[in-house]
């Protein structure tokens, strides 16, 4: 997934987020609210930990199990509706953050992959990624919410892919 770098932009943002929250909470809401929030934070973390641990192990296994070359082969020259649906389906399976998906997309584009297919893949990875739903959304938001959001997002990769095709031919014609 992500290279284990200690202090990147995200880490700095999170540190600023947590420390400013702590200061503001203590200053504006007082000591009682501060310690209540602290306990609530640790409590939620404790409940999420067994799931997150499973998610991290699953990420490692999937990376070893699904070679990127296989994904590329399936998406390579696919076009038409089949290409869009295939790209959307594969996008749901690619685990990890942009570190996993973008090199894949860049390689596809370089190999001459069709525009709409690439957009469908990226949109699917971003909105329908199963890995993210299991590791983040269900633990945080609950199964009901996750199901509603997932169903509502099902058409998005195809719509985005079609729109991208239409837009790119429109721009190419001009």
């Amino acid at each position: 997934m992500k290279p284990p770098k200690r202090l990147d932009g995200t880490m700095i943002f999170i540190i600023a987020f947590a420390s400013s929250g702590a200061v503001l909470c203590f200053a504006l809401r007082g000591g009682d609210a501060f310690f209540e929030a602290l306990a609530a934070g640790f409590g939620l973390l404790g409940r999420l930990l067994p799931i997150l641990a499973g998610g991290v192990i699953l990420g490692g296994i999937l990376q070893a199990l699904v070679p990127p070359s296989a994904v590329k082969r399936w998406m390579g020259e696919g076009s038409g509706w089949r290409g869009l649906f295939l790209a959307a389906a594969i996008g749901t399976l690619v685990p990890g953050g942009p570190v996993t998906s973008f090199p894949l997309v860049a390689a596809l584009v370089a190999a001459g992959a069709e525009f709409g297919v690439t957009i469908a893949f990226l949109t699917s990875w971003a909105t329908l990624g199963i890995n993210r739903v299991i590791v983040w959304e269900i633990p945080f938001m609950g199964g009901d919410f996750a199901l509603t959001r997932y169903l509502a997002s099902l058409p998005l990769p195809i719509l985005a892919g079609l729109a991208a095709r239409w837009l790119s031919t429109l721009l190419a014609r001009r």
Binding site: A37, I51, P98, T148, L156
Partner: protein, 161 residues
Amino acid sequence: MIEGLIVIWALVLGCGLALWRRSPQRIPEALRSAGANAKMLAPRILLAMLGAAFYGTLLPEEQIVRWIGGESGWTGIVIAGAIGAVMPGGPIVSFPIAIAVAQAGAGVPQVVAFLTGWAAIAAHRTMTWDLVMLGGGFTRIRLLVSLPLPLIAGGLAWALQ
């Protein structure tokens, strides 16, 4: 939360078994990348959860309910989608915020729009990823076709409710 626990460990077991049968020599590699990820994620998750808990006490609940509550309709969906689109950071930051906002009274379609804006439009990703790896033309079209997606997902979630 118990469903998530069961699903994830069943997947770990199933996929682990598949890896063990197909290419057992890659198991150490899988564990190594999992370990590296865990080491990177642990401090981030701890701090993000605490930060979200602190900010949870500060959220102006009435304001949130008025702007993006269940009754806010399309206006709320647009506002929530726009906020999501400019949210920086990965799921470590966005999901704690989504849970805090939902607990403060935001509506389901609005939270769906927020998460879709963050995931699909993802302004924070364009600088570091789209532009660097795929170029300006690709980035422009991806942004354009992604703009309506939070509204579509939010609207569909509204219809599904």
